[in-house]
Symmetry: C2
Subunit: 352 residues, 2 copies
């Protein structure tokens, strides 16, 4: 608190990311990282970047990367915007496309960075309650708004919305932007990317942090009509010309190109998730249906805080949000390797 | 232009960075990159990062890097803020510390990103003319303001302001933040970092893109009173929790620690600059005194655009800003290696 702070700063409530503990031998199931490392082709591409060329600026427009992303999705480069993690892409999206006179809409239980962006850009918002099964109900969003955003699958619930429902929303909601945040889509939900050419108000955001095992590299992107993408470029070029360094661009290009490794990794995570859900259900957990690389689960008898603390004592970290009340008894557990999940189940057997 | 764009976007005039051409065998003297690559210790540190650990998020707080920067400047970590290039650090600075009721002040001829940030954050500004010798005059800034920012050495002039003058400004201007942008300070100007403990309104920004040869890695930082640094953290954590990827953190730590390589590189650039200034003067150029890794020069007879185009034909790129009128006849030339500067001088002998 200071006379030197801009007025805005006093009122900000920053986002608090999941803990990144600096301890070894942890089973870290709290921030939805991929249990498998990036493609070997990515590592080779990255090694080449550790060179004298680092004295030179990277390509400010990330042209080769944008082309690789466009090619993966069967789109054009003009449909693609890239940023320093999908968090930066989302920040620019809130500023460039979701800042209008009417309040924007998002679920009451969702990615907790959304209200933080609204604070940063002074955007009014209204939260729409999930139903009792923690599902997004499209009908609740069919009203005047300055924009709509939700993740699919939603976080931290893991529940997916059918593509037909998203299309129903797009058919009705034509005068404001609809952002589908597909950070976790590759683990089992239906992507809306195929609807971009049909709906000019649709923006879809992706990250390379989850399905492409590159949380440490900070690359995310948005795809949409060139008109929406131009707005994002305008705000990016008024903020930081070079958000993606030489490593981020080279690694991300190789990751987008290695489709086989990407698919294999997603398949392994989905397979482990199926097994984990069964085991947790057997232990008395209620597990929401998940299309993501995490599950959201509540034990029928044992308190979530007690379970979370008990696991922590055994060097296993999961995420317990505590608030709001509706999810206070849930734990969000990242799907790890088979061995990590077996260790988790083994400890839970003692705890519950 | 679109109904979907936020009101702000229509009015933005984004920054245009210097050209990053995708042609080989160019002598690239247009974006003030260091002609020497980064320290070999940096390259070793970077190679180690191309590993399975990339599946994990980086440290959101860049604690080790902030400690290394603090140690270099004999400060505490609480005095240090890091960002994705000094452009991101400056963007957050404009939002967090320079957005008040009164207009901020900066020179009429300076880093052209400053008015762009003002557009992005809707900050009123007033430009203060440099004097006829292209110098910043502290007396012109002694009036009510919402903040003051200028580079030292200034860009694109290269002229430095004496530390005693900066301290004179700080003694009088105590009720708003004074930002000294020291992107080029290590090539011959006096740093204001030593004044931080004395003046709580002083923020000094640095980049690793110039003197530390890491333009391709995107790391910048600000040092100041913990109270100013906290404002920057609040806005950063409301925008993007993880702006520095694993490579950026590891490379920057190694670069801050290798003081000997850094000093040797700066010394080589300064030595080449001294020689280049003499040769250009002999060719009929007026060269402003430079404390930077570039010079700002005007030929007494030959038109700047003609010289710039003539060099381009010979695969040598320099930067010609054209506007404002006062600097229309100047060229900004990055100090390259001795061989690059010799090639430049040789071509100029033909041209002028």
């Amino acid at each position: 608190m200071s006379q030197y702070w801009s007025h805005l700063i006093h009122g900000l409530t920053p986002y608090v990311p999941g803990e990144q503990p600096k301890i070894n031998n942890l089973i870290k199931l709290n921030t939805n990282e991929n249990p498998y490392g990036p493609s070997p082709k990515v590592l080779i591409a990255l090694q080449k970047e550790a060179s004298e060329s680092l004295r030179l600026y990277p390509d400010p427009n990330s042209d080769v990367l944008r082309k690789a992303i466009a090619s993966f999705h069967d789109l054009e480069s003009s449909n693609v915007f890239v940023g320093n993690g999908s968090d930066e892409v989302l920040a620019h999206t809130f500023n460039a496309l979701l800042n209008h006179d009417k309040p924007i809409l998002f679920p009451d239980i969702t990615y907790s960075f959304y209200p933080v962006y609204c604070g940063l850009y002074e955007i009014a918002f209204e939260t729409i309650p999930l139903n009792d099964s923690f599902e997004i109900q499209v009908d609740d969003y069919l009203k005047p708004n300055g924009g709509i955003i939700f993740p699919n699958p939603n976080a931290p619930t893991g529940r997916s919305l059918a593509l037909s429902e998203i299309e129903r929303l797009l058919k009705t909601n034509t005068s404001s932007v609809v952002v589908i945040d597909e950070a976790y889509v590759d683990f089992g939900a239906e992507s809306a990317v195929g609807l971009i050419k049909k709906y000019p108000q649709l923006l879809v955001t992706h990250t390379l942090s989850k399905a492409r095992s590159l949380a440490g590299l900070r690359v995310g992107y948005a795809v949409g009509n060139p008109d929406l993408i131009e707005a994002l470029h305008r705000v990016k070029d008024s903020f930081n010309s070079y958000p993606l360094d030489r490593f981020a661009q080279a690694g991300a290009i190789a990751a987008m190109e290695d489709k086989a490794y990407f698919e294999e990794t997603c398949h392994k995570v989905i397979s482990t998730r199926t097994h984990l859900v069964k085991e947790l259900t057997d232990l008395g957990f209620e597990v929401l249906p998940s299309g993501a690389n995490f599950i959201f689960a509540k034990h029928t008898k044992k308190d979530a805080e007690v379970i979370s603390a008990g696991l922590r004592d055994k060097n296993i970290i999961v995420r317990h949000f505590k608030k709001p009340e509706r999810i206070a008894q849930f734990l969000r557990i990242t799907v790890g390797t088979n061995a990590e999940c077996a260790a988790l189940v083994s400890e839970l057997k003692q705890l519950v």
